[in-house]
Each structure stands twice: as structure tokens, then as C-alpha cells.
């Protein structure tokens, strides 16, 4: 365990050194975050200029949802996405054949592909979304107890676990079929989580709850904070996350067995 923690420390240091070489990325990154936050907030503001509630969600609650969406994407960008993209993305290791070296390393392959690469600028995105979350919660104007906060953090972890398993599944798929940036598709679908899933028509809503569980990823943490989420939903979320984790790990091992190098 300690060994793995030390390895993570090493990966972090290597990533910092790599990013320091491209300092301009810092500015571009901040600009991207600010634009994304602005469009998100303005979109909601324009909507609530016309109506007062949408499917029972008020302006502050929808803003909270946006903040959670931004927070989860920022955390996903911190380590899950860069690590997985360096395996299955464009010019990733599965594509170039560098994956052979990863396989030979004397540690768990799944650990290596999950924590190898960190994008540290995302810490700024994380803090910006936390600020937005605080503002939104102030607007909601409800007292949040310690228990509720603990439940929220627990749910945030469940959401991240679900995101992680989806990325692991997509990376496994990229070992079978190269050339399609599958994680982009997930990010596009994830965008639908900026608004409560209740607005989507039947079939799409079911898809977003049970197939790509965007509902569990973004909507439920908000409900924990702003309303009383039923205990059943919390347990279901955790169960789904654990089930997905087992499934994804299994699929990843199967794909490793299928993998037949890309280089000579």
C-alpha cells in the first residue's frame, strides 16, 4: 500500500515537471474554465429569465447542479482522464505500442493506467467550482448540517468512482478497437448532466440513469445537499458504483488478454 502511495507521489512529481515546460497552458486552461463557467451560468440565467422553475428545480438549485457538474469534471480532469487518455486516446499507448512497456512494469497494470498522469492545473478548476458551489448554496439559503456534508462527500466519491469505472470500460474497449476517441463520447453525454435529468423524455432519461448513469453522477449529490435524498437512492448509487467497478476491472483484464501489441 505504502509502495503504491510512493509511486503516486512519483507520478505527481513527473507530471509537475512535464507541465512546467508548457506554462502557457496554464493561461489557456484558466481561460477555458472561465468561458465554460460563464456560458453555464449565463445559460441558466437566460432560462430563469423566462421561467421561475423547471421541473420543480429553482434557479439556485440548478446553479448548484452546474457547480457539481463542474466540480466532477475538474476532478475527472485531474487524474482519471489524462491517465486513461494516455492509454486509449489519440496517439495513446495502445495506438503506438508503448503499452508493451506498461505491461512489463512490475506493478498492477490497472493501477498504472489509472494514476499515471496528473493534470495539476485542474486544481484551479476545482477551487473555482467550489467557489461557485458555495455561492449557489448561499442562494439556496438552507442550513447544511455536518451529517449532510458527510453524506455529500460520500456521494461525491461514489460519483467519481462511477466516472472512473466508465473510463476504465472505455479504455478496455480502446484495446479492441483503436482510432475512435471513446472518452470524447462520454464527455459529450456527460454534458447532458448540466440540467436535471427529469427534463429528458422517457427513453433518454432511462438511458441517462441506468446505462450512462449521469443521473447518479451529478443529480444525486445535489439532492443530498438541497433536499432530502431517500436512503434507498444513496445505497443504490453505492451499489451501482461497486458493481460497475467489479465489471470494469473484469473487462479490463479480459482486454489485456486480448491485446496483441501494436509495434514490432
Amino acid at each position: 500500500m505504502l509502495y503504491y502511495l510512493r509511486l503516486i507521489g512519483l507520478f505527481l512529481r513527473a507530471s509537475i515537471q512535464e507541465e512546467m515546460a508548457f506554462r502557457l497552458n496554464f493561461v489557456v486552461n484558466i481561460l477555458g474554465t472561465i468561458l465554460s463557467l460563464t456560458t453555464g451560468i449565463l445559460g441558466i440565467a437566460i432560462l430563469f429569465h423566462v421561467v421561475t422553475t423547471i421541473q420543480g428545480w429553482t434557479f439556485p438549485e440548478t446553479l448548484t447542479l452546474l457547480a457539481i457538474y463542474q466540480l466532477i469534471t475538474a476532478l475527472q480532469n485531474l487524474v482519471i482522464e489524462p491517465s486513461m487518455n494516455s492509454l486509449g486516446g489519440i496517439d495513446g499507448d495502445a495506438w503506438t505500442g508503448r503499452f508493451d512497456y506498461t505491461l512489463q512494469a512490475p506493478v498492477s497494470t490497472q493501477f498504472l493506467v489509472s494514476f499515471r498522469k496528473w493534470r495539476l492545473w485542474s486544481f484551479i478548476d476545482v477551487s473555482l467550482s467550489l467557489i461557485l458551489l458555495c455561492i449557489a448554496l448561499t442562494l439556496v439559503g438552507k442550513h447544511i448540517g455536518l451529517l449532510q456534508l458527510a453524506l455529500f462527500v460520500f456521494n461525491l466519491c461514489v460519483s467519481l468512482l462511477i466516472v472512473y469505472t466508465i473510463f476504465l470500460l472505455l479504455s478496455s474497449a480502446s484495446l479492441w478497437q483503436q482510432g475512435i476517441p471513446l472518452t470524447w463520447i462520454f464527455n459529450s453525454v456527460m454534458q447532458l448532466g448540466r440540467y436535471p435529468v427529469g427534463i429528458y423524455p422517457g427513453a433518454l432519461r432511462l438511458l441517462l440513469t441506468w446505462v450512462v448513469p449521469v443521473a447518479f453522477i451529478t443529480t444525486i449529490p445535489v439532492e443530498v445537499l438541497t433536499r432530502q435524498a431517500s436512503p434507498l437512492v444513496l445505497v443504490a448509487g453505492a451499489a451501482i458504483a461497486l458493481g460497475l467497478l467489479a465489471l470494469a476491472s473484469f473487462c479490463f483484464r479480459m482486454s489485456l488478454r486480448h491485446y496483441t501489441s501494436a509495434s514490432s
Binding site: 502557457l24 493561461v27 489557456v28 481561460l31 477555458g32 468561458l35 460563464t38 456560458t39 449565463l42 445559460g43 437566460i46 432560462l47 429569465h49 423566462v50 421561467v51 423547471i54 421541473q55 482510432g179 475512435i180 476517441p181 471513446l182 470524447w184 463520447i185 464527455n187 459529450s188 453525454v189 454534458q191 447532458l192 448540466r194 440540467y195 427534463i199 429528458y200 423524455p201 427513453a203 433518454l204
Partner: protein, 263 residues
Amino acid sequence: MNLRGGWELIKRSYLGWLAGRGFYWTLTFGWMVPSLLYLFVWATVAGQGQVQGFNRDGFIVYYLCFIMLNQFTYPVCNWTVGDSIRFGRFSTWLLHPMPPMFEVIATDIAMKVVCTPFATLVTMMLLIFLHPALPFSLWSCLYFLPALLLAQILRFLMAYTLALLALWNSRADALLALNDTLIFLLAGEVAPVALLPGWLGILAMVLPFRSMLGFPVEVLTGRLSTVEIWQGFALQSAWVLAVILLYRLVWHQGLRHYASVGG
């Protein structure tokens, strides 16, 4: 004008793009998601009652047309030109016995041919699934054609000019991101321009972004009076002229500034 040469140019890019169609269809899907999101948002809102002349069907038709129009006018040169400058391919284009713009136009057309079937399929499925009442008339379709053409020219030229700024800095990505944001907010994607409140609505009516997307869609779905349509045409033409002037300026100054990269 050498038509056969032009055709070969398109065919070459087309075959290149077709080879990676899984990749490009992923891109196409990414382009349509924001419109889809706001289709459902506004359709839900209108389900609670009429919103400034739009009912549920009105929003659905508006956004389905928007998805198709965005697909038709999406300027792929946003990133291909920047890349070619950064990696030095641009120098080869300059040596060819034709303006580099033809190369860019051919890529643009080829991309549209590759991506359009996918976008059409998704739109058709949504049309069948959501079955809104269709408001199209012969006149709206006739007015739509020039509006589409002008929108296409405007959006392409604007994107090409912005991408050429890479001649100075070799990274124009930040500006392109800003351009995308403005299109999202002011072209009618986040909401039809008529629904934008106060100063945002005024900005959207004056700036060129509505002319690139929202205006043709409004024409096609029959939301404008004849006077408003002609005003829209005038605005589109004025912006096309302005962007042509800007393009010529950027092109001539940029070439003087350009120091090649790579061999």
C-alpha cells in the same frame, strides 16, 4: 476556374476523411450535444405553457434545424489551418500553384460530405421520435437558400481569418475558443435570439453570430416577416463584406510575418 482540379482536391480530402469516419462521427456527435441539451430544456419549459411565441413543437423544430445548420456551416478550418501552420505543412501549400484557400475549402466540403449522413440520421430519428408539427412553407424554403449560402460564407471566412492569426503566434486556440463561446451565446444556440434578455438580445441582433446560424433557422421555420428577412440579408451581406476586408488585411500582413516551421 479549374473545375476538375477542384473536384480532385475535394475527392482527395474526402477519401482521407472517410478512412477515419468513426473519429469524425464522434466529433459530429460532440457538435450536436449542446443543441440537443437546449432542445430538451426549452421543450420542457414550453411544456408548461407558451414562451414568447414558441410552443413545444416550435422549439423542437427550431433546434433540429439548428443541429443540421450547425453541421452544414461548421468550419473545420478552425483547427486544420492552425495545425498546418504549426507543423509547417502550410509552407507546402504556399508553394502550390494555387491559393492555399482552395486547399482549405476542399477540406471543408469533404468534411461536410463525410459527417452529414450521421447528423441527418440522428435528426431524422429525433424527428420521428418527437414528431413535431412542421412549419415549412415554399416561401420560407426559398428565402432559406440565400440565407444558408451567406451564413456559410460568413462563418467559413470568419473561422479562416481567425485561424490565420496563427501566422503570428502559431497558437490561436484561445481566440477560437472565445469565438465558439460567442457563437454558443449569441447565435441562437443557448436560446433562440428572440428570447435573449435585454442587452444580450441587442448584442445578438447586431453582432455577426446570429447571421451565421440563428437567422437562417428563423427564416426556414417561418418566424420572420418579409421586412425582417430582408433586413437580415442586408446585415449578413454587410458582415460578409467586413470579414472579407479583415481577411485581406490579415492575409497580407500575416504572410509578411510568417516564418516557416519544419522542413
